[in-house]
């Protein structure tokens, strides 16, 4: 089997409210998969369902070839989860937090210090978690989640609330994990990050998958690549933006060039942000 996650027609209703509506997704082993979408779209709900924290209203989910409704405890032995909230034991030290889980996984004792070293937490080893910064807490959470060398890692907004340098460390860590052969399923609100990191991205909006693809295909499909021309007209600076898709674009630029003094021409590549906005706006229009 080359897929570590297979979601088939999964629906989740909370009473009458449909949080996730009939989604089908698959994630290739060894890849980083990003689930993106606006607040309340159903990302966390999907992760919870995949990690056995919710009952499925309809559909099937298979993780590492095992059915979540039947073999959840077997699945738990092989996955790592970092949830949205920084749920550490505040009264325990960094070491105690990680070592508690090491004992639950029943793995060798030196693994705790090894993982503390991997995440460069040695200097905080014996500090209580309650005094750590958000970025450090996130590193402890990551350490806890990869302790038992899981085959698949779920990260729900792993960089939210972190400063750029802490976020960068987390991203580098995720890259490293992937290199070691672990598959990663993550959600994020940072589009740039998703673009850099993910092999494949799915957009979810109001519980439905609205687009799936590699960052490149999504940008090609939903992004806009423009040319931004700045020129001087009667002493004032003016800017015009033209999509690269316009057929007459070069003709227009040469018209400007003849009449005015061009100050600059920039090309603007499509970004994941555009993709996100286009998709969300698009689905609003459809409503």
């Amino acid at each position: 089997m080359s897929n570590c996650i297979e979601i088939t027609n999964f629906t989740k209703k909370y009473d009458l409210f449909t949080a996730v509506d009939d989604i089908t997704l698959s994630v290739t082993k060894g890849s980083i998969f990003g689930l993106l979408g606006p607040n309340g779209a159903g990302k966390t709900t999907t992760i919870k369902a995949m990690t056995g924290r919710l009952r499925l209203t309809a559909g099937e989910i298979s993780i590492l070839g095992l059915d979540v409704t039947k073999d959840i405890k077997k699945i738990h032995q092989q996955i790592g989860v970092v949830s949205e909230s920084q749920n550490l034991y505040e009264h325990l030290s960094v070491f105690e937090n990680i070592d508690f889980f090491r004992q639950l996984y029943n793995i060798e004792k030196n693994k705790t210090d090894q993982i503390i070293k991997t995440l460069s937490l040695e200097h905080k080893r014996d500090n209580r978690v309650s005094g750590l910064s958000k970025g450090l807490k996130q590193r402890v959470l990551l350490a806890r989640s990869i302790l038992h060398s899981p085959k698949l890692l779920f990260l729900d907004e792993p960089t939210s609330g972190l400063d750029p340098s802490s976020a960068k460390e987390v991203l580098e860590f995720i890259h490293k994990i992937k290199e070691l052969g672990t598959s990663v399923f993550l959600t994020t609100h940072n589009m740039e990050e998703a673009d850099l990191l993910c092999d494949k991205i799915a957009f979810i909006n109001k519980g439905s998958i609205v687009a799936v693809g590699t960052p490149k295909t999504l940008k090609d499909q939903f992004g806009n690549s423009d040319v931004e021309v700045t020129y001087r007209e009667n002493g004032h600076e003016k800017t015009e933006i033209h999509s690269l898709e316009e057929k007459s674009i070069f003709h227009k630029i040469s018209e400007i060039h003849q009449a005015h003094q061009i100050l600059s021409i920039h090309s603007r590549e499509a970004t994941m942000n555009d993709v996100f906005l286009n998709i969300v706006e698009h689905s609003k229009e459809q409503q």
Partner: protein, 414 residues
């Protein structure tokens, strides 16, 4: 259940207990108040020591530890680890049960070893503590946040803890108190000298019955908790059925211990007497003049004859089993000590020989609150105190009651 998982959870929870300020406060209050009362009054109420250590420690810490994991969302992390929900709860229960036993035994045996039966304390406390810790499990499961627990939990804690202490002040609280396991633990510990009499076995029976009903009750809530996913607790049919069964069991344990009431019997023509067969007592009674009220609390049974036109003034009889074989002399000396502490004035002591050659010691005195007269005596089986309390120092009811009591104390039969 895997032992390495349980021991891991227990060790972690133990660290939480002695590092979390909230659990430390609960333990500190329980131990502190009892030790403080002992230093202050020479002796804390042993009933209070039992109720506080069982309820404050057993109930409050158990529910706190469970809700804490949900409130801080650490439960989410545990539930995607190899540990199962049952193992997590069992580990917590084991720890809080052990802490409850340690606290109760150390307080009782260090402060009250003279008053309790060692055997029955050792046997009944674990039963009662387990029931109360299990109550804590359910409340911990239902409350999703510490804010919710501090509301619901505090009310329930008081409901488990106060009736036993206040049962002497109100008949209905007595019914409530007898439904709860703490009451039976206290009874067993105090009835100690009786060995394994039918009454003792009845108390054990009720404790075991409550424990069984509670185990079913808790299992239904654990099953619901495992299948529930959202944060708000929804009671399902299972919960409702087992709650009803538990409630009926508690009502039953109260009803089977209804105190044996005395009876007012017409002895001849228009003379009546109050008779209590359990305490082998019979005393003349005027139904038109008095209103009868009976209480049982802790190990005492009290009857009050209130004057109908002046309910604050009354004659009372307090009866108690003489488990420790207290003699008339000891009984007298203990009373005397208490009276001296009350700043009594016009203290008048005398001794007479009542029916069946029983030594009657008579105490009469006044305090700022009112006038008091009572006779105390002990027999091989029972300790009795018969007296008057009249609030209005100037009033006539005191002299009326006094005459009534004096006249009839000679006719009283035991």
């Amino acid at each position: 259940m895997r032992s390495y998982i349980l021991s891991t959870i227990i060790k972690r929870d133990l660290k939480e207990t002695y590092r979390n300020p909230q659990t430390l406060i609960i333990l500190g209050i329980t131990i502190g108040i009892n030790v403080f009362m002992s230093l202050l009054f020479g002796k804390a109420l042993w009933v209070m020591t039992f109720s506080m250590s069982l309820v404050m420690v057993g109930f409050t810490i158990t529910s706190f530890m469970i809700t804490e994991e949900k409130d801080k969302l650490t439960l989410d992390a545990l539930l995607v680890s190899p540990a199962s929900y049952q193992e997590i709860l069992f580990g917590k229960l084991f720890l809080t049960f052990s802490i409850t036993l340690s606290v109760t035994f150390s307080l009782i045996f260090s402060l009250h070893h003279e008053e309790v039966s060692v055997l029955h304390t050792l046997l009944s406390v674990p039963l009662g503590a387990l029931v109360i810790c299990l109550f804590g499990v359910v409340v911990g499961l239902i409350c999703q946040t510490q804010a919710m627990l501090s509301g619901i939990g505090t009310i329930l804690m008081l409901a488990l803890f106060l009736p036993e202490l206040l049962a002497s002040a109100n008949v209905y609280l007595g019914y409530f108190a007898r439904a709860l396991p703490t009451h039976h633990v206290i009874q067993l510990a105090s009835l100690g000298k009786e060995g394994f009499s039918p009454l003792i076995l009845k108390h054990y029976g009720v404790l075991v019955l409550s424990l069984t009903a509670t185990i079913f009750w808790v299992s239904s809530f654990i099953k619901t908790a495992i299948s529930q996913e959202s944060h708000k607790w929804k009671f399902d049919r299972r919960n409702k059925v087992t709650s009803f069964i538990l409630l009926m069991t508690l009502v039953f344990s109260s009803v089977v211990f209804l105190p044996l009431k005395g009876q007012v019997l017409q002895t001849s023509g228009n003379s009546y007497s109050y008779q209590n067969t359990q305490y082998k007592l019979s005393i003349p009674f005027l139904p038109k003049k008095f209103e009868l009220k009976e209480f049982s609390f802790q190990n005492k049974y009290v009857v009050k004859f209130h004057l109908i036109d002046r309910p604050a003034d009354y004659i009372y009889i307090s009866m108690q089993k003489n488990n420790k074989g207290i003699s008339s002399k000891e009984n007298y000396e203990e009373r005397l000590l208490k009276v001296r502490k009350e700043d009594a004035i016009n203290l008048n002591l005398s001794r007479s020989i009542g029916a069946n050659e029983v030594v009657l010691d008579r105490f009469e005195y006044e305090t700022q609150k009112g006038k008091y007269l009572y006779y105390i005596f002990s027999t091989k089986d029972f300790l009795y105190k018969i007296g008057i309390e009249a609030s209005n120092v100037e009033g006539e009811s005191y002299s009326y009651l006094r005459e009534y009591l004096q006249k009839y104390i000679q006719q009283m039969t035991l």
